[in-house]
C-alpha cells in the first residue's frame, strides 16, 4: 500500500448553510437541528464532505462577507471567449451566429487531434538552383492542412485551399474529394438553368430520388423556407388570423403548426372540433415533396459503403474517439455528409475546428462582489482581482515530529503503527499583516469505524504578523523576539502540554499526538476505500484586529485615531496524517 503524504483540506461554509442543507424539513425540526449543529463534529468521511473539502489553494475569500468561498459556490461569469490556438478573441455576438469553434484557420487533426498547419503544396525553390532575382516571392498555393505528428494531410480527403488564410470559410464550401458545395442560391440558379434547357424530368418533384444529396445545413434551410412559405399561404387563405408577419419562429406559429398534426386527438370532447379544423386546413397545407423543399430521402442502399468497406483495411476505418470528435464539431462543420451513423472511413473525416476557451470572473454568491477577475486581454495571464483564501487564512502544514535520540526511527513503509502514539508537528503560517489568535478544537477520537485518539497539546496560541522580512531581520536582537523564541518547548526536546513547539516570524508550530486505531475487520468484511487513513477533523477559529473597512474613511483623519475592528473566522478542516498499517504488516 502506498504511503500517504499528509494533507490539509478546508471545508467551505457553503455546504453548511442551513437554508441549503435542509430545505424540506419543518421549522420546528430545524431549530432542533440547529442546536444539534453546534455540538456536531464535522465528519470528513461523510459522503457530503467529498463535495465541500478543498485544498487551501483552491479556495477564494470574500472580503465583504469575510467568508471562504469554494469553486462550487462561486458564481462564474464569462469575461472573454478566445481561440487557444491563435489567441484571437471572439466577440460573444459572433459566438451566437458562428458557434463555439474558431472560425479562422485553426484546426485539429481528425486522426490524432494534433494541431494542423497550413502548408504550401509547392516545394520551396532550391536556393542553389535559383538566381537572386526571383527569390522574393513566397510560397504560393495550393495550400493544405497538414499534421506534423501523424503526417495526415487534407490531401487524403481531397481538399486543397487557394488561400493560406480563412481556411474555415474555404472548408465550408468544399466537400471531401474537392467538389465545391452549392449554396442555396447557386442551387436555385442551376435549377432554373436546367428548366430552361429542357431537362425537366430529372428535377421534377415526382422524381425526388434523382436529385443530389443535400447536406444538413442546406436541407434545414430548404425546409425552413418551405414551411414559412406554407404558413404564410395558409394564413392568407384563412382571413382573420393574420400571422404572416409573425414568421416561423414565433411560438403562436408553432402552436398553429402543431394544430395541423393534431387531427386524431385522443380527447373525445375535442375530437369533432379538431377534425373539422384539421380538414378545413389540410388542403392548404402540404409536406415537402422534393429536394428543393427540403425532402431528403433516406439512402437505404448501402451497397456503396459496403463495397468501400470491402476495399478498405482496418487502418482505413475510424476509431470511436475519432467519430466522437467529428460528431462534436458537427454543428460548425456542416459540410460533412449527413449520415445515419457517423464517419466510418478515414476518408470521410474532416479537420476539427479548434474549440474556443473562456476566461471567467468569479462572484461571491451572497454579496455579489467580484472575488476573481482575469485580465480580459487574451495574451495576458494576470488577474485584476484575485482574492485567494491563502492570503487570509493560515496555511497548515503537517510533518512527523522527529527529535533525535527521543523518537524512534520511522517505519520504512511510511505507515502509522496501530496503538503506538505518534507525534506530529502542525505549522500554522499567518499571511495577514496583523497578529492572529488561533483556537483549535478536535474531537478526542476520530469519527468512523476505527476511532483513533487525538490530542492537541496546545489548542490556543497566537501567531505574529506577517511583517516585512527585512524589518524582522533588523530587529532580531530585540528582547521581545528572543522572549517569544524561548516560549517554545523545542528547546526542551519534549513536547509539553499547553506550550507551542516553535515560533518563527509569522508561524507557529504545535504538536498533535495521535494514537492510531487498530484496523481490524471481522469476518469477511471488506475495508472501505481509504478507511485506514487517519484523518482528523479540526475546527479552526482565528481572531484578529483589522482596520475597519467601509465608510469610515472620511471620518478617520478628523479623529486622528485608527478605527480597529475585531474579526473572526471559523471553519472546519480535515487533516490527513497518514495510513495506518496492520499489526501483521509491522510484525
Amino acid at each position: 500500500m502506498a504511503p500517504l503524504s499528509p494533507y490539509t483540506y478546508i471545508q467551505c461554509p457553503c455546504s453548511d448553510a442551513p437554508s441549503q442543507a435542509r430545505p424540506s424539513e419543518t421549522p420546528t425540526r430545524d431549530i432542533a437541528a440547529d442546536q444539534d449543529d453546534d455540538d456536531r463534529t464535522f465528519d470528513p468521511r461523510a459522503p457530503r464532505s467529498n463535495y465541500s473539502l478543498y485544498p487551501l489553494e483552491y479556495l477564494l475569500y470574500c472580503e465583504d462577507c469575510h467568508q471562504i468561498r469554494c469553486p462550487r459556490c462561486v458564481a462564474e461569469e464569462i469575461v472573454t471567449y478566445y481561440c487557444p490556438s491563435c489567441l484571437f478573441e471572439v466577440p460573444s455576438s459572433n459566438l451566437k451566429s458562428e458557434g463555439n469553434r474558431c472560425t479562422r484557420s485553426c484546426f485539429q487533426c481528425p486522426v490524432c487531434i494534433g494541431p494542423l498547419q497550413v502548408t504550401s503544396l509547392e516545394t520551396p525553390p532550391d536556393p542553389n538552383l535559383l538566381a537572386a532575382d526571383n527569390t522574393s516571392s513566397g510560397p504560393s498555393g495550393p495550400y493544405i492542412l497538414a499534421c506534423a505528428y501523424c503526417h495526415w494531410s487534407s490531401i487524403e480527403i481531397g481538399i486543397k485551399f487557394d488561400k493560406p488564410n480563412g481556411i474555415y470559410s474555404q472548408l465550408q464550401k468544399l466537400r471531401n474529394g474537392g467538389q465545391t458545395r452549392l449554396t442555396a442560391k447557386e442551387r436555385k440558379d442551376r435549377r432554373k438553368e436546367a428548366m430552361s434547357t429542357g431537362s425537366f424530368a430529372s428535377t421534377h418533384p415526382s422524381n425526388p430520388g434523382s436529385d443530389d444529396v443535400l447536406d444538413v445545413e442546406s436541407q434545414f434551410e430548404n425546409l425552413r423556407t418551405f414551411y414559412s412559405h406554407q404558413l404564410s399561404e395558409s394564413t392568407s387563405a384563412a382571413p382573420g388570423l393574420s400571422m404572416s408577419d409573425l414568421g416561423i419562429s414565433s411560438p403562436s406559429s408553432l402552436a398553429r403548426l402543431m394544430n395541423y398534426y393534431n387531427v386524431g386527438s385522443l380527447d373525445p370532447s375535442k375530437k369533432g372540433l379538431g377534425n373539422s379544423r384539421g380538414r378545413a386546413r389540410l388542403g392548404t397545407f402540404r409536406e415537402a415533396l422534393d429536394t428543393e423543399e427540403g425532402l431528403q430521402l433516406a439512402q437505404l442502399d448501402e451497397s456503396a459503403s459496403i463495397s468501400a468497406f470491402k476495399a478498405s483495411t482496418l487502418s482505413d476505418l475510424t476509431t470511436t474517439s475519432q467519430r466522437l470528435s467529428q460528431a462534436e464539431s458537427h454543428l460548425s462543420n456542416l459540410v460533412s455528409p449527413a449520415l445515419h451513423g457517423s464517419s466510418r472511413l478515414t476518408s470521410t473525416l474532416r479537420p476539427i475546428p479548434v474549440l474556443l476557451r473562456t476566461k471567467r470572473s468569479k462572484r461571491c454568491p451572497v454579496c455579489r462582489h467580484i472575488i476573481s477577475k482575469p485580465e480580459p486581454k487574451v495574451a495576458s495571464t494576470r488577474f485584476r482581482i484575485r482574492l485567494v483564501a491563502g492570503s487570509y487564512i493560515p496555511a497548515v502544514s503537517i510533518r512527523p515530529l522527529r527529535v533525535p535520540g527521543v523518537t524512534p526511527p520511522p517505519p520504512p513503509d511510511g505507515l502509522l503503527r496501530p496503538l503506538v502514539p505518534a507525534q506530529y508537528l502542525l505549522t500554522f503560517t499567518n499571511p495577514l499583516f496583523e497578529p492572529v489568535k488561533v483556537t483549535l478544537a478536535t474531537p478526542s477520537t476520530t469519527p468512523g469505524r476505527f476511532a483513533s485518539k487525538v490530542t492537541v497539546l496546545c489548542p490556543q496560541f497566537e501567531i505574529d504578523a506577517n511583517t516585512d522580512v527585512w524589518d524582522e531581520a533588523l530587529k532580531s536582537g530585540s528582547s521581545e523576539t528572543s522572549r517569544r523564541r524561548d516560549e517554545g518547548s523545542k528547546a526542551g526536546g519534549v513536547a509539553e502540554v499547553g506550550k507551542i513547539w516553535e515560533r518563527g516570524r509569522n508561524w507557529v508550530s504545535i504538536v498533535v499526538e495521535v494514537v492510531p486505531a487498530l484496523i481490524k475487520t471481522e469476518g469477511g468484511e471488506e475495508l472501505k476505500e481509504d478507511e485506514d487513513v487517519l484523518e482528523i477533523p479540526m475546527f479552526i477559529r482565528i481572531e484578529w484586529e483589522a482596520d475597519a473597512t467601509g465608510a469610515e474613511v472620511g471620518a478617520a483623519p478628523g479623529t486622528g485615531k485608527e478605527v480597529r475592528e475585531k474579526r473572526e473566522l471559523a471553519y472546519w478542516s480535515a487533516l490527513g496524517i497518514g495510513r495506518i498499517g496492520s499489526l501483521g504488516q509491522l510484525g
Partner: protein, 216 residues
C-alpha cells in the same frame, strides 16, 4: 591490498582512449572506457564527431556522407552494425542497445542493427539490437524506441515518444504514432525528403568537426 593494486593497474589501459576527449568538460560518465573498441569500416566521406561513442567487438560499417552527432552511442556488443548512406544519427541515441528487456545473446553471425540509406535517428531514440532493420528514408522520432528484432519498412515515420514493439514488421510508408497506432503515409514526399536530408547533411558537415581517425 593486492586486489586494489590490480584495479589501479588495470585502469590506465582502459581509460587511455578517453583521456584525449576530456579537453573542455569532464563528464561523470566514463566515456569510451565502457567497452572495447570495435573494428570499423568507414566510408571516406563520413562525418563522425569525436565525442560519439562506439563500443563492442563486432564490426561497425558506416556508409558515405552519413553524419554521426556527438554523444551518439553505437554498441556492437552482440553483432555488427551497418549504417547506410546519408543517414543522420543525432545526439544521445543508442544504436544496438542491448538492455531494456534484459541482455540479449546474439548468434555468431547475427547482425545487430541495419539502417538503410537516408535514415534519421532523432535525439534520444533507442534502436535495440538483434537483427533490427530500418528501411530507407525512415525517421525514428525524438525519444522513441525501436524494439529488438523489429523490421521497419521504407519511408516510415516513428513519431516522437512512440514505441515499436520487439519483433514486429512494419510495412513501407507507415506512421507509428500515439499508443502503438499505425497509419499509412499518403503524402508521397519521399523524394523531397531525401533531397532535404542531403541538404541538411551538407550543412551539418560544416558544423560538426569530424574525426574518423579516432575510431579506426
Amino acid at each position: 591490498m593486492f586486489a586494489g593494486e590490480q584495479a589501479e593497474l588495470g585502469k590506465p589501459s582502459d581509460t587511455m582512449s578517453s583521456s584525449a576527449t576530456t579537453a573542455k568538460r569532464t563528464s561523470t560518465v566514463p566515456p569510451a572506457s565502457a567497452g572495447p573498441k570495435p573494428p570499423v569500416s568507414f566510408s571516406s566521406s563520413v562525418t563522425i564527431a569525436e565525442l560519439a561513442v562506439l563500443t563492442g567487438t563486432y564490426p561497425v560499417a558506416i556508409g558515405s556522407e552519413t553524419v554521426i552527432h556527438p554523444r551518439a552511442r553505437l554498441e556492437s556488443l552482440g553483432g555488427s552494425i551497418t549504417i547506410g548512406r546519408r543517414c543522420i544519427i543525432h545526439e544521445r541515441t543508442k544504436i544496438g542497445y542491448m538492455g531494456t528487456e534484459g541482455k540479449v545473446v546474439l548468434d555468431e553471425d547475427d547482425r545487430a542493427v541495419v539502417l538503410g540509406d537516408y535514415v534519421t535517428v532523432e535525439v534520444g531514440a533507442v534502436v535495440e539490437a538483434s537483427g533490427t532493420i530500418i528501411g530507407e528514408g525512415t525517421v525514428v522520432g525524438v525519444g522513441s524506441r525501436v524494439g529488438r528484432g523489429a523490421v521497419i519498412g521504407k519511408y516510415c515515420t516513428i513519431a516522437p515518444q512512440s514505441e515499436v514493439p520487439a519483433g514486429v514488421t512494419i510495412p513501407d510508408h507507415t506512421v507509428v504514432y500515439g499508443e502503438n497506432k499505425q497509419r499509412t503515409d499518403r503524402r508521397g514526399v519521399a523524394a523531397s525528403m531525401m533531397k532535404a536530408q542531403a541538404q541538411q547533411i551538407t550543412n551539418l558537415r560544416t558544423k560538426i568537426p569530424s574525426n574518423p581517425a579516432k575510431f579506426q
